[in-house]
């Protein structure tokens, strides 16, 4: 009998704790005007959990490297800065910046710099109390893979993913929100400040598509806005929210998902309009200002 009670209490407790993991929505079916497409309006309710995922910085750097952009050492945040941040929010934001810098150096095969930045990221993880997310052998793996670009990218990526997974599973939304935001800002800072004249059209496409990525990031922050620290992060990125809200979107673009030669293809027109030169310059200014606020402890 006691065992049954304990088990019931365990399940109840676990369900209560799990329900803190994300937002709840209900999807009420509604008729749609489009042919043979099932559509549902997304509404807030208590039915299901929603998680907003943010692509990691290494994906952006992997992409821009193939897009022809070159490595710029002066864009990195110097490792000497790591000691001067005291609050958990500042440390989490700076951790996000250094994690993106580490991914940048690894993607461009800057081996010795990668090792230095890995050391800094590891020290900051200690200060944030998240070092248990790291595999003890990670530093050794990095040293052993210094001559192998693919392995270096994989090992540094793995460390970032371990931290993200650890924070997700431990409901550390404030730290995760800060790290994901700063990581995204730093990757945008590096890309926008690396653009030369006549940049590659694929790189410009990836930059404009960040409207959707930012929306996911912003939705994640809004989902956890009960935390005063997350409120501060929302205030920090609010100018970007306004900027992206003003970027035209083609809501009539049709999407197809068809099978061709045994493989599915997700097709359709672009939904986000191309950015003009002025808009790209404005985005660069906004990102640069936010990064400056983070590194000058002005959050």
């Amino acid at each position: 009998m006691k065992k049954q009670k304990l088990r019931a209490l365990f399940i109840t407790g676990t369900v209560i704790l799990f329900s803190c993991g994300g937002d709840k929505t209900d999807n009420t079916p509604e008729s749609d005007t489009q042919d043979s497409v099932q559509a549902e309006v997304i509404k807030q309710n208590d039915e299901q959990t929603v998680y907003y995922q943010i692509p990691s910085p290494d994906e952006m750097f992997d992409f821009i490297k193939n897009g022809g952009l070159s490595f710029k050492q002066d864009l990195l945040l110097p490792i000497e800065n790591s000691e001067k941040y005291n609050t958990a929010l500042q440390q989490s934001l700076i951790f996000g910046i250094y994690s993106a810098d580490l991914a940048y150096t690894a993607a461009f095969e800057e081996y010795q710099t990668s090792l230095k930045y890995f050391g800094t990221v590891q020290k900051m993880a200690d200060r944030l109390g998240i070092s248990s997310a790291y595999d003890a052998s990670t530093a050794e793996r990095i040293k052993n893979n210094l001559e192998n670009a693919d392995s270096l990218v994989k090992v540094t990526g793995d460390t970032y993913f371990s931290v993200v997974d650890y924070l997700e599973q431990n409901n550390e939304e404030t730290k995760l929100g800060a790290i994901a935001t700063a990581g995204w800002i730093e990757s945008m800072y590096i890309v926008l400040n690396s653009l030369e004249n006549n940049p590659n059209s694929d790189v410009l496409q990836r930059i404009k598509d960040q409207k959707l990525t930012f929306e996911n990031l912003y939705d994640y922050l809004q989902q956890h806005n009960h935390s005063p620290q997350v409120e501060k992060i929302i205030t920090l990125v609010e100018p970007l929210n306004e900027f992206f809200n003003n970027i035209e979107e083609n809501n009539d673009a049709k999407t197809t998902f068809t099978k061709k030669d045994g493989k599915f293809v997700l097709g359709g027109e672009d939904t986000v309009a191309p950015l003009s030169e002025e808009q790209t310059a404005e985005l660069k200014d906004l990102v640069n200002n936010i990064r400056t606020k983070i590194i000058e402890e002005n959050v």
Partner: protein, 228 residues
């Protein structure tokens, strides 16, 4: 006092257990692609599910990339785990918004009943320009038509129509925001879930029969160029 301490310790235990149980589940138990060009995507995630529960993962897929999504689950959640892929669409819709307010009731000069006098359009003893308060209040409803952006999800793929496949590959020729919806049926039944490797991976079993971990592993690579 002892009860409180026990309660706190118990909740701490449950919290730690649930937090760590599904930690990296997708990396430990989901089958990665055999194609070495596929790379792990940071949007992958694991979570604890109970039977009958539904959860959503909102992800971004970029133009020019191939994606592979694969699911893995604890055995006790059963064979028929449903996963659907939706596109998130924004639709502009007109909505009529009603505003209600309470205002003083007025009578017009024509209803002055001889009190006061009218000079042209102005009714001087009627407290203002041609109107006289009655002392009563009335509810006024004003309607405003607003264009609002509503988010909708449109179904692209449903694995229950594809023999409950636990993985899917696709090429993205345009960038989209997608929702991966995972649902554990109320009565999942026993057996080994598809997508779980029976050679070493997927051997984990949860004691409680109603709950278990589900992992969604996402991998990506640049779409291979075909032809010359």
């Amino acid at each position: 006092m002892k009860k409180y301490i026990f309660g706190i310790l118990f909740l701490t235990f449950v919290s730690t257990f649930q937090a760590q149980y599904c930690n990296n589940f997708h990396r430990k138990y989901c089958y990665p692609s055999e194609n070495e060009f596929f790379k792990y995507d940071g949007q992958s995630r694991s979570a604890l599910f109970s039977k009958g529960q539904k959860s959503e993962l909102t992800i971004i897929v970029y133009k020019g990339q191939d994606y592979r999504l694969s699911l893995c689950a604890d055995e006790n959640l059963g064979n028929n785990i449903i996963f659907k892929i939706y596109e998130v669409k924004k639709v502009k819709v007109e909505k009529v918004v009603e505003h209600k307010s309470t205002e003083d009731e007025y009578k017009t000069c024509e209803t002055c009943n001889g009190e006061g006098y009218i000079d042209g359009e102005t009714c001087y003893d009627c407290d203002g320009e041609g109107q006289r308060p009655t002392g009563n209040t009335v509810e006024v409803v004003t309607k405003e038509t607003k264009v609002v952006v509503e988010k909708r999800k449109e179904l692209l793929y449903d694995n229950s129509q594809d023999d409950f496949a636990m993985d899917i590959e696709f090429s993205a020729t345009s960038t989209r925001k997608l929702i991966i919806e995972v649902e554990v049926p109320e009565e999942g039944g026993g057996g080994t879930s598809k997508g779980i490797n029976d050679k070493g991976k997927g051997k984990k079993k949860l004691d409680t029969s109603e709950m278990g971990c589900i992992g969604v592993l996402i991998e990506h690579m640049p779409t291979p160029k075909s032809g010359f």
